[in-house]
């Protein structure tokens, strides 16, 4: 049996539902252990209910997708084309590759049966003919843990033919990626699972719920989302919706990384904390002698915030707000109101020791590497933005670069097949908007100095 290192210190602010057992040193990935902790009991009950009832619970829960877009899962399930008569497929998106994100890893490596139970309940609820877990290549142990766990579950008739005598059958297959970020985009993932290049499909018409895997109706949900389904089935959708805030229900596993004292994953009730709580109270704040320069609030594609900036406006409730970064509510709607997004829940902290131009150069290198190449604006634009920022970082900045970068960014977003276009443009657009002075000043930098940096980012 494979076991990974546990993080035994759990912050008192955490409310662990999904990660309840994950870091318990006594808890392991075996079926035995899961059963000892009441595992698969929820599924047994769920299989005695009507699938539509379970779909209604998920709708009532208002649970939003944890993979990036934050779309309500119950609504997505409702869009399933059930009239076509074609088989329905369920896919768990375990590609976890948005920079800064490392929550699904914890679930899959430490509590695989929770994901399997969540998936088998979801599969039954949508009446899937077959289910898949698409896990990124860089988690070979995770794939092995999941395969072994599925074997154990199959031996107990929890996966496979006529599950628990219910008459419902569903196989669960682990499928491994091969180190391409674009396989996280759901239609790219589907192409990849069909055995092709992961070229995303254009929406409309290729919404997976209507035309997904093999052009059959398909639901793609993130690992954390599918685990939540287990808890929704257990407590009931309305009860679940009491956790967190309206429209921002449940807990979320936040991934804190970068230049902060206590990086890590923290499962927190939605809307009860702020970015300030996460970075300073829970994350221990910045390192000695350092001050905050920037925060990327939801994975590296999310628009950056500059230390000291203020966000003002009106919430949907009509309430006016005037926030600093530290006041932004830690949920789905907070960062959106502040002009960015919570994305995959990855919060990256950048202190004053690094050059902001280099930070963008590092991010641009990622998106240039990961463009699938189908659309000219994304393929060429991401590469140009990378080349320009890399040149700037290496001492070759020119006064006109800021304008040039902004104009490239502006010509990508909204002009591509998939949201990788936005993902690659938003960093450049927002870094230039927020740090224009630094990008302009960069041209005055002594090229010698550029070679002598202590922390290299490109």
């Amino acid at each position: 049996m494979i076991s990974v290192k546990k993080r035994t210190e759990i912050h008192p602010s955490e409310r662990r539902i999904i990660l309840k057992h994950a870091d318990d040193p006594e808890y392991d990935v075996s079926l035995q252990c899961y059963l000892r902790h009441g595992g698969y009991e929820v599924m047994k009950q769920a299989y005695g209910r009507k699938p539509e009832e379970l779909c209604q619970e998920v709708l009532d829960s208002e649970v939003r997708g944890r993979g990036g877009a934050g779309f309500p899962a119950g609504m997505k399930w409702k869009f399933l084309d059930r009239k076509s008569g074609k088989p329905i497929y369920l896919i768990c998106n375990a590609d976890e590759s948005e920079p800064g994100t490392f929550k699904d890893r914890q679930i899959m490596h430490k509590d695989p049966h929770q994901l399997i139970e969540g998936m088998m309940i979801s599969a039954y609820a949508i009446q899937a003919a077959q289910a898949f877990i698409y896990i990124r290549e860089e988690m070979p142990l995770g794939a092995q843990i999941l395969e072994e766990a599925i074997e154990e579950a199959r031996a107990r008739n929890l996966v496979g033919e006529n599950i628990l005598g219910s008459g419902y059958s569903c196989e669960l297959v682990v499928h491994r990626g091969a180190a391409a970020y674009i396989c996280g985009e759901e239609t790219g993932l589907i192409e990849s699972l069909e055995g092709k290049r992961a070229y995303p499909r254009i929406k409309p018409p290729y919404f997976p719920a209507a035309l997904g895997l093999y052009m059959c109706p398909t639901i793609v949900n993130n690992v954390e989302t599918l685990c939540n389904v287990k808890h929704i089935a257990e407590m009931g959708g309305k009860e679940y919706a009491k956790i967190g805030k309206p429209g921002n229900t449940g807990t979320r596993i936040w991934c804190l990384s970068g230049q902060v004292r206590n990086p890590g994953y923290y499962e927190l009730e939605n809307g009860m904390f702020t970015y300030g709580d996460l970075i300073y109270k829970i994350g221990g704040g910045l390192r000695d002698g350092r001050s905050l320069q920037a925060v990327i609030p939801g994975g590296s594609s999310a628009k950056v915030w500059r230390a000291g900036e203020r966000f003002t406006g009106k919430l949907r409730s009509g309430e006016e707000f005037n926030w600093g970064i530290e006041d932004v509510p830690l949920d789905f709607d907070g960062p959106m109101a502040a002009g960015s997004m919570s994305g995959s829940g990855a919060v990256m902290v950048i202190d004053d020791s690094v050059d902001i131009v280099e930070v963008l150069a590092n991010i641009n290198a990622f998106y240039a590497h990961e463009s699938c190449g189908q659309c000219t604006p994304c393929r060429e634009g991401s590469l140009w933005m990378k080349k320009i920022t890399t040149r700037m970082a290496n001492g070759g900045a020119r006064p006109e670069d800021a304008e040039l970068l902004a104009s490239i960014g502006d010509q990508i977003a909204g002009r591509t097949i998939c949201a990788h276009g936005e993902a690659c443009a938003w960093p450049t657009q927002s870094f230039i908007a927020k740090f224009r002075d630094k990008f302009v000043e960069k041209a005055k930098e002594d090229p010698e100095r550029a070679q002598k940096r202590t922390v290299r980012l490109v």
Binding site: H175, A180, K196, L256
Partner: protein, 170 residues
């Protein structure tokens, strides 16, 4: 020379294909298995897969050449992947990479002169909370510093004999 696979890989492939509603879907898992056994995906291997799945060879090659993990050229006996992405870079990822290169007197993406390793940069390995990180084959190493890199390299040298000719796979 005819392309041959071990009995173990063959039986894995036979078991894997029927798991999918359409057999073309099995291509990635098959390529993983073959690359694991052979160290790379030769054109012969690709033709073999094409035949197995009733595909044109180009339909296999376009997959092999799209995904960064599949390779048509050999690498060192051990595969070192250092995360290059932001959270790791902010915490010294580039230094970690330099340390690996220095230990094996090699450059990025090359086979080290002793044939033991190939050092590559990887994009975010989904372990940013314990940055900087690197993978050696299937194993993840977290919170790395230069001393730890030295210890990992020592271990690799102990476990992996140097090759007579660089790059030859045993």
């Amino acid at each position: 020379m005819a392309f041959e696979l071990s009995a173990e890989t063959l039986s894995y492939i036979e078991k894997t294909i029927p798991r999918y509603p359409q057999k073309r879907s099995a291509i990635m898992m098959i390529l993983h298995a073959i690359q694991k056994e052979k160290g790379l995906l030769s054109l012969e291997a690709q033709e073999w897969v094409a035949e197995k799945l009733d595909l044109a060879p180009i339909q296999v090659r376009e997959v092999v050449t799209f995904y960064p993990f599949y390779r048509e050229k050999p690498i060192g006996k051990r595969h070192i992947r250092v995360c290059r992405t932001l959270s790791c870079a902010l915490n010294g990822g580039y230094k970690v990479c330099d340390a690996f290169k220095k230990e094996f007197h090699t450059e990025l993406d090359e086979i080290s002169p002793d044939g033991r390793v190939t050092v590559e940069f990887a994009e975010c390995l989904a372990s940013c909370g314990t940055a900087p990180v690197a993978m050696v084959d299937d194993q993840l190493y977290e919170n790395l510093n230069e001393e730890q890199v030295a210890a990992i390299c020592e271990q690799i040298k102990k476990e992996t004999p140097a090759a007579d000719t660089a790059g030859s796979k045993s």
